[in-house]
Symmetry: C3
Subunit: 158 residues, 3 copies
C-alpha cells in the first residue's frame, strides 16, 4: 500500500439528508488522508452549483418546497422519528451547530476533494457548465468514474 | 492484477433514474473490460422483466403513473431542478438522444453482463422466473452475491 | 488474504425494504465468514432501537403509517409491481415465511455483527444512546467508519 488510498463517491441524490451524508463521508476520508473523488450526477448536481448552497440557496429552496408541499410530500421512511420533517431536521442541525452543507463543501475543497460532474446528466438536464462551482475539475463520462473507482478502496453510491 | 477485474452492482431500485444510473455504470465497467455482475432484487426486478423496457413497457407505465398521480407523487428531492418530473426527464432524454433503457440493457447483454435475480425477492413478490428475460443467468441467494462482491474492485448498491 | 475479509455497510435508510436488504446482505456476509460492520446513521437508527423491531414495533408502526397516510404516500417507484404497497409486501413476506427483521437482526447478532451508531446523527436527532439495543458497540464518528471501510473488501451505502 505504497500508493495513496483512494475513495470514490457517486453522488446521485439531491436530497438534503443524503448530500449531507455524502459530504460527511467525504470529509472523513479526506481527513484520513485518502484521495477522494466525488462523481456528481443527476439530482446531486445541485450540490455543486454556484447558485445553491449559498445564502438562500439549497436551504431556502428546501424550506420553500416544504412550505409549499407540507410534510405530506415526505415519504413514509421519514416518519420514523415521530413525524420529523426536513425542515425540522435542518433546524435541529443548526441548533446543534453541526457543520452545514456550504461549510462542509468548503472544508472538502480545502482538503483537496476532486469534484467531477457527469456529462450525460448535464446534457439531459440542460445544465450549463458555467453554473457549476469553479472547483469542479471537469465534466466527464462514466469511463473516468470507472477508472478511478476500480483503484479505490472505498466506493459508495449515494 | 493478472485476474480480470470485477464489478458488482446490487440493483435494488426500480426508479427510472436509478435504473438508468445503474445501467450506465455497468455499461461503463463492461466497456472498460471489467467482468460485471448485476444482482437484481426487489423493485429492480422490473428492469430485467420481459414485459417492461420494451414498447409500452417501463416507459409507458411510468408515464401512466405520472398521469394518474400527477407530479405530487414525486418526493421533494425531485423538485430540485425547478419542478422537473420524470415525464419531462424522459422527454428530455429522448430529445437529447441519450441511449434509453432498452438500448442500454441490450448493450450490456452484448458486452457480456451477468444478470442474477434475487431468490428471496422473487418468492416474496411472487414473480415467476418465466417473466424474466432469458439473459438472466439464474435466480440465486445472497451467498452468491457475497462471493462475487468480495472479489470485486467495484461495488455499488443502487 | 491471510487476514479475515471485511464488509462495511452504511445503513442510512429507515425504509422497511432497504433495512431488509441491508440485513439480508449482512447475514450473507457473516454466514460467509466475513467480519461485518454496520454503521447506522440517520433514518437507519430506527433499525437498532430497542423499542422498534419488537412486538408492535417497526411493523406495527409501519402499518400505522400506511393506514394513516394511505398508499398515496408511497413514491412512484413502489408502483412498479402493480400497485403493491409495503403493507401488502409485509403480508406477503409473512405468508412466504421469509425471516422477518427482528429475526434477521438477532441472527446477525448471533453471527457476531458489529453495530455502530453515527454520533452526528444521534446528536441531531436527539436520540439518547439508552434507546439503542445493548448490542450496539459504540456511538462513533465518521473517522471510525472510514478506517474500517478502507480495509473492507465489500462496502455498501444503503
Amino acid at each position: 500500500m505504497a500508493e495513496k488510498q483512494k475513495a470514490t463517491i457517486v453522488l446521485f441524490s439531491g436530497d438534503f439528508d443524503k448530500v449531507f451524508a455524502a459530504f460527511t463521508i467525504a470529509t472523513g476520508t479526506l481527513a484520513a488522508g485518502i484521495d477522494t473523488t466525488l462523481f456528481v450526477t443527476f439530482w446531486g448536481l445541485n450540490a455543486i452549483r454556484k447558485d445553491v448552497l449559498t445564502g438562500k440557496g439549497l436551504f431556502g429552496r428546501m424550506v420553500g418546497v416544504m412550505n409549499r408541499g407540507g410534510l405530506d410530500r415526505i415519504g413514509p421512511s421519514k416518519f420514523n422519528f415521530g413525524g420529523i420533517g426536513r425542515w425540522m431536521f435542518k433546524k435541529m442541525m443548526k441548533d446543534k451547530k453541526v457543520t452545514m452543507l456550504p461549510e462542509l463543501r468548503q472544508m472538502m475543497i480545502d482538503l483537496g476533494v476532486h469534484f467531477y460532474a457527469c456529462k450525460t446528466s448535464m446534457d439531459v438536464m440542460e445544465i450549463d457548465p458555467d453554473v457549476l462551482i469553479p472547483e469542479v475539475k471537469g465534466v466527464v463520462g462514466v469511463a473516468t468514474m470507472v477508472e478511478v473507482a476500480a483503484k479505490s478502496q472505498i466506493q459508495f453510491f449515494i
